[in-house]
């Protein structure tokens, strides 16, 4: 089912949370709501679920205005960050709760609970109460409860937040399949950019009481609309270097470690402006001195990060940059090294506002894939 939000406002006791949020989610899409805590992600979910009412604005599901429709009549499945299992019921009864509400036959309920439990690999613990379940099992039970009635709208409020890293990773790989099988419209809330990129057809980045950017994972990662969004995606974080583009021999250049490094000619309009140059750590390579675009740095520390090695290096002006390379590839010796930047994906931001400066000839909507 499609969901339309138009101009939603909500505050709690003088505390403005959402200020005019509009959102259009087509049937079958998985939309990720991403942002720091307190950005209003959970509130937005609750508004759609109907357990909180908006101060202003309309929520329309499949063309029907949800104003005045009670939660139990909205046909929604929801999983909570803290699981919110019924502590006095066993896992079976928890998963069955959306089915009992619809007065299904006992055997029908039994079949469906078994089916969901098997899918989520918790069929062996159906008789356990929440207190007897491990964290991972609780999380799966909560998910099972949301899926049991095959709702056409699934709201998942950071369901992987409270499970350990290994389980989180496993579930991240498993979820797309589960969700596709459901054929539902999914809204997934998370604070983990990896989850957001891995699961979302589109990502809505929240901040400042609303949505600050919405787009596919590619658009958000490659063309973030501000430095703030750029910093939220990617680990290690994007390097932001203060630069003032100048006119070089062959177009605009920026000074890095007293070396002129060419930037795209389409940034000519930014010449003379105080800018931040955004460079992803994986776009910087260690090179031999004298290679094109190479500039010297001093190595401060090497910190392995999952399947990558991250190097903290200082430029000649004592600016710190992070360089990332696949683990196992040869790196620099301690001390001095030279790096070069792959400027193809470099981003230029207005230093004062943080907004991205769009290159004159850049493809605007259709990102090269």
């Amino acid at each position: 089912m499609s969901i339309q939000l138009s101009n939603i406002r909500k505050s709690f006791a003088n505390d403005l949370v959402l200020d005019g949020v509009s959102l259009d989610i087509p049937t079958g899409e998985t939309l990720v709501l991403f942002g720091p805590s307190g950005a209003g992600k959970t509130v937005l979910l609750r508004l759609i679920a109907g357990v909180v009412d908006p101060d202003e604005g309309r929520i329309i599901v499949n063309g029907v205005d949800m104003d005045g429709v009670v939660p139990e009549d909205r046909g929604i499945g929801m999983a909570f960050q803290n699981f919110a299992l019924f502590p006095h019921m066993d896992a079976h009864a928890n998963i069955a709760s959306p089915l009992t509400a619809r007065r299904e036959t006992r055997s029908g309920i039994e079949t469906r609970v078994r089916e969901v439990a098997k899918l989520l690999k918790i069929d062996h613990v159906l008789g356990h109460t929440p207190a007897e379940l491990s964290n991972g099992q609780k999380q799966r039970t909560a998910l099972g409860r949301a899926l049991a009635a095959e709702p056409s709208i699934l709201l998942l409020d950071d369901p992987l937040r409270n499970v350990d890293a290994k389980l989180r990773f496993e579930m991240r790989l498993e979820l797309p399949r589960l969700l596709k099988a459901q054929n539902a419209t999914v809204i997934f809330v998370t604070q983990d950019y990896k989850e957001a990129m891995a699961l979302g057809d589109r990502i809505a980045v929240m901040g400042d009481h609303g949505i600050v950017q919405i787009g596919t994972p590619e658009e958000i990662y490659l063309c973030p609309s501000s430095t703030r969004i750029a910093r939220l995606f990617g680990d290690p974080t994007i390097n932001l270097l203060d630069v003032v583009p100048e006119i070089g021999v062959q177009g605009p250049v920026v000074q890095l470690s007293a070396t002129d490094v060419a930037i795209s000619g389409s940034y000519a309009g930014a010449v003379g402006k105080a800018c931040s140059l955004g460079i992803r750590p994986e776009a910087i390579r260690f090179v031999a001195p004298g290679a094109p675009g190479a500039f010297p740095v001093e190595i401060e520390a090497e910190t392995p990060l999952n399947e990558k090695t991250v190097t903290l290096a200082a430029t000649r002006n004592h600016r710190e940059i992070l360089v990332s390379r696949p683990a196992g590839t040869p790196g620099p010796d301690h001390g001095k090294a030279h790096v070069a930047i792959d400027m193809g994906n470099a981003l230029l931001f207005d230093r004062a506002t943080g907004a991205r400066i769009i290159a004159a000839d850049a493809p605007t909507d259709e990102m090269a894939t």
Partner: protein, 285 residues
């Protein structure tokens, strides 16, 4: 740090024994007194060695009080029954009214909800004597004086605020998400209240009910003013032991023992509901 020395263990046990002795001694002494005659009770010095007698209990059960001045009629057993009926009745009414109200105050934030809840609590602050005089007059006008119904109604002043405030706290402690989850699963608010909120607040309801029962049981002043002899609870009925020929300590003690028993039985029964932890594991964190 976790290994305590033997001396510390011994000292700890001695201290605990002292505390128990301090609190339990009066009750222990009363139980002893209830098996003695007035003479053995009043002898100097007191002694724990005596010929036990059931005469005090017999007197209470038969309703015949033998004093030096002759035989007095007392209706202690009917007082006991009155106490039981009044206390149980008021707690029942208090729970029926108080639980939904507590749920409303705990869950729904409506205009003035805090003020109303506080007003209800403030009934507990007013000295009972202050309200008694007007209340007596009203009750006599509308024919509620000296009725069980009237008494149970007045007892709500004692039990209702107590139940309301204790149970409300328990409802507030249930994470709202658990109830939301049940609603979203497709159940009405009433079904959610009955199948989720009520069972999870059960320890609180049991505690509040028990406490309210004890308060109602121990009430003296309302019953003294508003109830005539045949509706009096034990607290008021015990006055009968102060006779012209002195205080009948033995019977008083036996009366106390008998009147502790129902509350004690209830407390022991309710204990398993008082054990919390039912909600453990529902919500992470």
């Amino acid at each position: 740090m976790d290994q305590t020395s033997t001396l510390e263990k011994v000292l700890r046990r001695v201290a605990i024994s002292l505390v128990i002795l301090f609190f339990m001694f009066p009750i222990f002494w009363i139980v002893l007194m209830s098996f003695q005659t007035n003479e053995t009770i009043l002898r100097v010095p007191p002694s724990v060695i005596f010929e036990p007698t059931l005469s005090n209990y017999v007197a209470l059960v038969t309703g015949k009080l033998e004093t030096q001045a002759g035989t007095l009629e007392i209706n202690f057993m009917s007082n006991l029954w009155n106490s039981l009926f009044l206390s149980a009745g008021s707690v029942a009414v208090g729970l029926i009214l108080g639980i939904p109200a507590a749920y409303a105050f705990g869950r729904i934030k409506f205009r003035g909800s805090e003020d109303i809840a506080f007003t209800l609590l403030s009934f507990r602050f007013a000295p009972p004597l202050l309200v008694l005089l007007p209340l007596t007059i009203y009750f006599q006008k509308i024919g509620l004086a000296d009725t069980y119904f009237g008494l149970i109604w007045v007892y709500q002043l004692i039990v209702l605020p107590l139940i309301l405030w204790i149970v409300r706290g328990y409802f507030e402690d249930i994470p709202a998400d658990i109830e939301y989850a049940y609603r979203i699963a497709g159940h009405s608010w009433f079904s959610t209240f009955r199948t989720v909120a009520l069972p999870l607040a059960m320890p609180g309801i049991a505690a509040a009910g028990l406490l309210a029962f004890i308060f109602a049981w121990n009430n003296f002043i309302f019953a003294l003013v508003l109830a005539s002899a045949d509706k009096q609870p034990v607290t008021v009925g015990a006055l009968a032991f102060v006779t012209a020929s002195g205080i009948q300590y033995g019977q008083v003690a036996a009366g106390i023992v008998l009147s502790i028993l129902p509350t004690l039985a209830l407390a022991l029964y309710a204990q398993r509901y008082l054990v919390e932890g039912l909600s453990l594991g529902a919500v992470k964190g």
